[in-house]
């Protein structure tokens, strides 16, 4: 295998896929550099899982070119399979086997040898906090444990590129944090990760680059910060102790969003120190007392809303 450090881990051009007459992917182009985390973000039905299924050789594409680890997925799927690991949305573990047996099964299928297989299984059980449950059937595992076992099974073969399709969907906040930690450790080890998620926070936490997928098309791509800069929507939130101060400030500033009950006022701002100082100076000059103040910079939620131009149905789910 000829490996050059500059070769992208994944490159996709003009990827198209339909199921029947339903167009699911409508010309996707993307590139993922080695050793980085790429997040594909979008609501349910945007085409995220279909993209992962094609990139991981599970299903074929209708058009376009897809290269993973330097190999064409259509022409040389086995070479791609040897380089990747996939943890899908639905747990891909054998529930009739124990956690340890699941890992040994993977080791056997990766042909790593009996002894090395046992060593890796033991190490992964320890690292994924499953050592105690290793001898129990996977059918008795909790959601978080299943997800960890699933990822551990993916790692048995030491893949250089890992696909994670909604790795934390349906997990409680603590299990989600644990998964994030595990993913960060993998990245530190030089692995390339292709992640799909409908949680903006997750993409923001983990990804070097984010692409927004909506109705089978990429509507934006960039670093989390670059995406956030693309839209206005920042503001300064002022909270007052008395209704009188709130009224006075609102009268003076004019263009602001007032919340009578919470005694707060949202003032549009670009978040710079200069504009903040100007605002405080004006309030001081009028002898209006502000109790607390917070600065809100736009998050990916705002980005998505701005770019799709419509309220995202999945926003309710975003934590």
């Amino acid at each position: 295998m000829t490996t050059t450090p500059t070769r992208p881990a994944i490159s996709v051009t003009g990827l198209r896929k339909s199921f029947g007459d339903k167009l699911v992917l409508d010309g996707i182009d993307l590139e993922v550099a080695q050793g980085t985390v790429f997040a594909l973000l979008g609501p349910n039905g945007a085409g995220k899982t279909t993209t992962v299924n094609i990139l991981s050789t599970l299903i074929g594409a209708d058009g376009g070119e897809v290269r993973v680890a330097g190999h064409d997925v259509a022409r040389d799927p086995d070479a791609v399979r040897a380089a990747i690991g996939v943890t899908g949305q639905f747990s891909a573990v054998d529930k009739l086997l124990t956690g340890e047996e699941n890992l040994l099964l993977m080791a056997d299928l990766r042909h790593v040898g009996r002894r090395e297989g046992r060593r890796r299984a033991a190490e992964l059980l320890e690292r994924f906090d499953l050592a105690e449950a290793g001898g129990k059937p996977a059918s008795t595992y909790s959601g978080g444990m299943l997800r960890r076992l699933d990822l551990a099974m993916t790692l048995v073969g030491d893949p250089r590129i890992i696909f994670l399709d909604e790795p934390t969907a349906g997990l409680d906040p603590r299990s989600r944090r644990t998964m994030w930690e595990l993913i960060r450790e993998l990245v530190a080890g030089g692995v390339t990760i292709f992640l799909t998620t409908q949680y903006l926070e997750e993409a923001d936490e983990l990804a070097d680059r984010i692409a927004l997928l909506d109705h089978g098309r990429l509507i934006a791509e960039g670093s989390p910060d670059a995406l956030k800069r693309r839209i206005p929507g920042g503001h300064i939130s002022l909270r007052f102790a008395h209704t009188g101060d709130l009224e006075a400030a609102a009268d003076m500033i004019g263009e602001a969003l007032r919340d009578q009950e919470a005694l707060t006022l949202q003032v549009p701002s670009d978040g710079s120190v200069k504009s903040l100082r100007a605002l405080l100076d004006r309030l001081d000059g009028a002898a209006i007392e502000v109790e607390t103040l917070s600065i809100h910079t736009p998050d990916l939620d705002d980005v998505f809303l701005t770019l799709t131009g419509q309220p995202d149905k999945e926003r309710e789910l975003v934590r």
Binding site: G88, F90, A92, V93, K95, L96, L97
Partner: protein, 262 residues
């Protein structure tokens, strides 16, 4: 390692997985062996007196035991075939198959694991059924070579039906549907020479009974075990097994390689 070594190693791995499943899911194994034994006892002790009398002037329960065992053995083979249909359908509902498909392994190994597991399971169940038959008075006069031939013929039809039922398990949308598809197979030993001689049947049924695949297989097994005439049944039996195995294999492989929808 060469492709062939991978094929053997991966199939062996998948077979080990299947054997573990059978251990864990023991109720199915018990069901698969319990059903033919129940039918054996039912046909010998409840119907055996009357059916045996129909075999000829000297017929009776003891003669009927000899007559019915080949049919019961085939019944054990067909009940055994439910195993791969159900276990394949269960596999397809889990994400584990998607994982196998994205790994660089010998692709049909998941299916060969099911087939080989079913073969081992059914051969076990046939041994138990034969043991019970001997306990209740079955006295075959087969030589060791003939016993080996019986095992060979039964293994061949088990193997063939396992591939067919793997395809059933893949084509079914649910586990319930998969467990219904092999149902007609269970009736075939009855609609042949398994439980009564075909010449006692009405002409139209007799035509079917004599030309369906299980009759030559049962006649071959009966001839090998008891010394009755085999004639060309042996050749026809082997041909049927090969044909069913081929159709099952090609169909199963095609179903397995198709893209999942959605």
């Amino acid at each position: 390692m060469s492709t062939l070594t991978y094929a053997v190693a991966d199939s062996a791995t998948m077979l080990r997985r299947q054997l573990r499943h059978m251990q864990r899911y023991a109720s199915m194994t018990v069901m698969l062996v319990g059903m033919p034994i129940t039918f054996l006892l039912l046909f010998v002790y409840v119907f055996g007196g009357t059916l045996g009398a129909g075999l000829g002037p000297s017929g009776g329960r003891a003669e009927y035991v000899e007559y019915v065992v080949p049919g019961i053995l085939l019944l054990a083979v067909t009940t055994g075939a439910f195993g791969p249909a159900i276990s394949v359908a269960m596999d397809m509902t889990e994400g584990i198959v998607a994982r196998f498909k994205t790994m660089a392994i010998f692709r049909p190994s998941v299916l060969t694991g099911h087939v080989l597991g079913s073969l081992i399971q059914t051969m076990h169940s046939l041994t138990v059924v034969t043991g019970v038959a001997v306990l209740i008075g079955f006295r075959p006069n087969a030589t060791p070579v003939e016993w080996v031939a019986v095992a060979g013929v039964l293994a061949a039809i088990t193997f063939a039906l396992a591939w067919l039922c793997v395809a059933f398990g893949l084509v079914a949308k649910t586990v319930e549907a998969a467990s219904n598809l092999p149902q007609p197979l269970v009736f075939l030993p009855f609609l042949g020479s398994g439980f009564v001689p075909t010449d006692s049947m009405p002409t139209w049924l007799r035509w079917f009974a004599e030309h369906q695949p299980f009759t030559p297989i049962m006649e071959t097994v009966r001839g090998l075990l008891l010394g009755t005439a085999i004639g060309d049944s042996g050749v026809i039996a082997v041909a049927w097994c090969a044909a069913i195995a081929l159709v099952g294999y090609v169909w199963a492989k095609r179903l397995y390689n198709r893209d999942p929808v959605g």
